[in-house]
């Protein structure tokens, strides 16, 4: 029984990281209509910045500040990219949007390599110093709980921003119908910038949260990107709720897959995605999409 509990917790932990990455991706997608292939790089960059900061501040209480700072820097970068590069191609064909973000992904990951080097950056102390707790006779790291809770809080924040504030209303309006929003006097350009800021912050914070328990290293961008694609396709493109349920599903499938069907653990996520698309092409919580 207690082993069962551990696997559920492991699943939750994995899901919470995945949720943060994919909610940013789905937000940008639903509002600005851009499949941001550079999203994984923002996540990787968040990890590198946080790792560097934590490493230099490890013996001071300010180490905790590394998380918001990393998220903020990545957020600014996202804003910059939107303002100066992506802005030019909103009205253009999908192919150019994909080509552009693909190019951005190449550039960002190479810049990460040039700035931070090819060696992974590890921060061990923070993860170990938060200690372990005893659940029904087996150890479980406190840090994982912190990540789960932080992710839930951020999820709630996103929900409040989207559904309880004026800004959220504007964002939702843009996602629903851009031309109509413009017609009633919304500055959609600013809304898009805001969305990119939020999406990039989410990517940055998830990268930062991963660092203490794993490492900042090259190549984590592609995996994160592909996994969050699976999540948003399952949950329904453009739906935060879908991203939540989707990442929970993938997290649990993964942690139980390791125990019960290790041979196809990796492929099972894809199979779930294909089944969902066959039964319900727009995903679990996706809106009906329009042709064109």
């Amino acid at each position: 029984m207690m082993w069962m509990l551990r696997f559920i917790l492991d699943g939750f932990f994995y899901a919470s990281i995945l949720f943060l990455i994919s909610s940013g991706l789905t937000l940008i997608f639903s509002v600005a209509g851009i499949i941001n292939l550079a999203h994984g790089c923002l996540y990787m960059l968040g990890a590198y910045i946080a790792a560097t900061l934590i490493k230099s501040l490890i013996d001071t209480p300010y180490a905790i500040l590394a998380f918001p700072v990393a998220a903020f820097i990545v957020g600014l970068l996202g804003l910059f990219i939107e303002r100066f590069i992506i802005r030019w191609i909103y009205g253009r064909d999908l192919v150019y949007q994909l080509l552009l973000t693909f190019g951005l992904a190449l550039i960002l990951s190479d810049i990460t390599r040039i700035v931070f080097g090819t060696e992974p950056i590890y921060v061990t102390k923070l993860y170990i110093n938060t200690g372990v707790i005893d659940i029904l006779g087996s150890f479980y790291p406190v840090y994982n709980f912190i990540v789960i809770i932080v992710s839930l809080i951020i999820g709630c924040l996103i929900w409040i921003i989207l559904y309880k504030t004026r800004i959220g209303m504007m964002i939702r309006a843009c996602a629903l119908d851009r031309e109509m929003s413009e017609a009633i006097g919304l500055n959609t350009g600013n809304v898009f910038s805001l969305t990119f800021l939020m999406g990039a912050i989410l990517a940055g914070i998830s990268g930062a949260l991963v660092v203490p328990q794993s490492a900042a290293m090259l190549g984590i961008d592609a995996d994160a990107l592909v996994e969050s694609f699976i999540v948003i396709v399952i949950g329904g493109v453009g739906s935060i709720k879908g991203a939540f349920i989707g990442s929970l599903l993938i997290g649990l499938i993964r942690s139980f897959g390791i125990v019960f069907f290790p041979e196809i653990e990796l492929a099972i996520a894809y199979l779930v995605m294909i089944v969902v698309l066959l039964v319900r092409p727009r995903g679990l919580f996706g809106r009906e999409f329009r042709v064109a």
Partner: protein
């Protein structure tokens, strides 16, 4: 005017073919190798553009069918020692077309971004499987490819590249011809109608979903052929072929040349191959340079480099 146009056209095509035929005369095995690579990419891009340029469907997972073709050749020649050229190439095309038919059926119901995401996910599924089924595929170490044999001749990119170059050239010309015929057939025109306005196409009686599916299948035939020719050229295949970033290369090559021009993907593929080969040789910052190139093409060349040059030149001539 029309007569002159076709005459010019014929002369141009003939010159190009002669030029292609004479490449091995330079006697550089590296040049032959590079030319083979460019032509393989061209075949792939030609098929890909039937989907992208003529049907308006953006696939981000065509590496899957390329990879399936390549892996079929590798497994047949290495694991089963079947090296007969027609058998191997035929099987490779069949395998990739088979999967293309199934996946195309599932994907053709979706539009635009969802289509792109879905094709991407499918190619990643193959990527995961090639990694996982390492006993069969060699996993990340990949699997070697033996030369193809026909009439006592050996074809591979490792030894005598000249014969292999002519083999690739033959298939390239065949692909060029067939895709030209497809594009100008009623089926091709229907695809363009779907691209320009799916609703209108549906209303004039074109079975949109079915035709999209057909276009997908045809493009996987080309991808499979290109993959099958790629494998003996390098003599080794790895799961990277299924990774979405590899699929991004064909997208880039196609857009570089211009996806609204028939010959665009071919020119794009040739330019891309040569450019990448030089960039990677010159600098270790090649991902950065390549990324910058991509961004520049996406931002400033809305019709591809060749397409944009063509339209600006045409505009200038008209003014004269």
């Amino acid at each position: 005017m029309g007569f002159q146009n076709t005459l010019y056209c014929k002369v141009l095509v003939l010159t190009c073919i002669l030029l292609l035929l004479s490449i091995p005369l330079a006697g550089s095995s590296y040049l032959n190798f590079l030319a083979c690579m460019a032509l393989v990419y061209s075949i792939w891009a030609l098929g890909y553009n039937l989907l992208l340029g003529y049907t308006g469907l953006l696939s981000f997972g065509h590496g899957a069918y390329f990879g399936l073709g390549a892996y079929t050749v590798a497994i047949l020649t290495t694991r089963y020692s079947i090296q007969s050229l027609p058998v191997v190439l035929g099987t490779a095309i069949l395998v990739s077309t088979f999967f293309g038919t199934i996946i195309g059926y599932l994907c053709a119901r979706h539009v635009a971004k969802y289509f792109a995401l879905l094709t991407l996910a499918f190619s990643q599924l193959f990527y995961a499987l090639t990694f996982k089924l390492y006993k069969w595929t060699g996993g990340s170490d990949g699997i070697g490819v033996k030369p193809l044999k026909l009439l006592g001749l050996e074809f591979s990119g490792i030894g005598d590249t000249v014969s292999y170059y002519y083999l690739v050239l033959l298939f390239f010309l065949l692909s060029l011809y067939t895709s030209w015929r497809i594009v100008n057939s009623p089926f091709g025109k229907a695809l363009q109608a779907i691209r320009d306005n799916p609703l209108k196409a549906e209303s004039i009686g074109i079975p949109v979903k079915r035709y999209k599916w057909y276009a997908f299948i045809v493009s996987t035939v080309y991808s499979g052929l290109a993959g099958a020719l790629y494998a003996p050229l390098f003599g080794h295949v790895v799961p990277d072929l299924f990774h979405f970033s590899f699929s991004g290369e064909v997208l880039f090559a196609t857009l570089l040349g211009g996806h609204r021009i028939f010959i665009g993907p071919v020119i794009g593929a040739i330019v891309f191959t040569i450019a990448r080969s030089y960039i990677t040789a010159v600098t270790i910052y090649w991902p950065l340079v390549l990324g910058l190139l991509l961004v520049i093409v996406a931002l400033f060349f809305p019709h591809g480099v060749i397409g944009t040059l063509y339209t600006t030149l045409k505009g200038r001539f008209r003014r004269l």
